[in-house]
Point group: C2
Chain length 214, copies 2
Amino acid sequence: MRHKEQVDVPDQPPAGDRRIEILDAAARAFMRQGFAATSLDRVSDEIGSTKGAIYYYYRSKSDLFFGVHRRGMELTEAAIRPPFEKHAGARDRLHAMAFAHTLLVMDQLPYLRVIAQGLELHLLERTNESERANLAEVAALREANENLYIRAIKEGVSSGELRPVDAKLIAKPVLGALNWTSRWYQPRPGETAAARKRLATSIADFVVAGLVKS
Amino acid sequence: MRHKEQVDVPDQPPAGDRRIEILDAAARAFMRQGFAATSLDRVSDEIGSTKGAIYYYYRSKSDLFFGVHRRGMELTEAAIRPPFEKHAGARDRLHAMAFAHTLLVMDQLPYLRVIAQGLELHLLERTNESERANLAEVAALREANENLYIRAIKEGVSSGELRPVDAKLIAKPVLGALNWTSRWYQPRPGETAAARKRLATSIADFVVAGLVKS
């Protein structure tokens, strides 16, 4: 079932596109049914394919689950790193990060809802060595994203722009305010991009107001 | 399997205590393994009992799962309603609610982590009529708790103490900041009550600072 080595064989569809199509379908399935109730048949049905197409990239359901988590973490990094790099002041930087993060939750709801649920729950009591390595990798990606917030908060405290908070601790409710969006947000029919941006702005305003000196 | 009518029969243990002991064990099991992987055998093992003891109160695993959610919501209400009733000013009231809420998450981690995960995920695609009624009941309890925050925010906006936010919307990241505690918090060996209170104070400070006028 391990065909990863064959990804570059000719006559295959473009590897990235097909893999992401599978991950997208898997994210939707895991979001709706959870890990235990999701079958690979269901995922492959959704993309009009067979289980073989999934096994081409992922050797098991838990491997696919890790793929969804990994992509969710990578999408998060791709959203928050540019504003982290770009903005100098703590207020603008954190606002831009929180805004991009919240928009991402709405745009990529299945991934963000699945990663907000966490994966330890589903695997904790029956992991094998490869799963433990995957768990550690996903945890490291999550931590790296969190560290961008911690660094942004720390620098704002140092510069005096933010209240003298414990950056590592306060990053937790900051991330809670943002990630909780995955728990309650439901796209409305006909919802405009402008409406999503207003929502993301309100949440970013709240987070920044919670940190700045009054 | 429906013995609820017999709860008051003599020679039974005090109904409330035994029922709560079962719920406590179930909350721990659901927290650690999720709904799908939890067995009633495991729950009854944990309290040194048999499945029969569970069936005395709950007729199925999903009934027990609803019981855990219901108790989680009731514990939340018991924590946040007294400060909601007691305090007049928006800042003090919201701080006291957020403080009590965060302490509750730490003190009753299994319940709060299970309810933060939500239950729709586990049951959505295969509910029967009684489960749909239970879902609606738990949703109503959740909404009632959220409404206490919405009312406290609205009143603070009206009085001018808080920024002119959309209370219904901002209650979401407020609850996210608080409930996310269930996602990351791990009690440390030897952790003192004072340390928990400091943590709850920091999170409540953040939430209130995010709402008040600067």
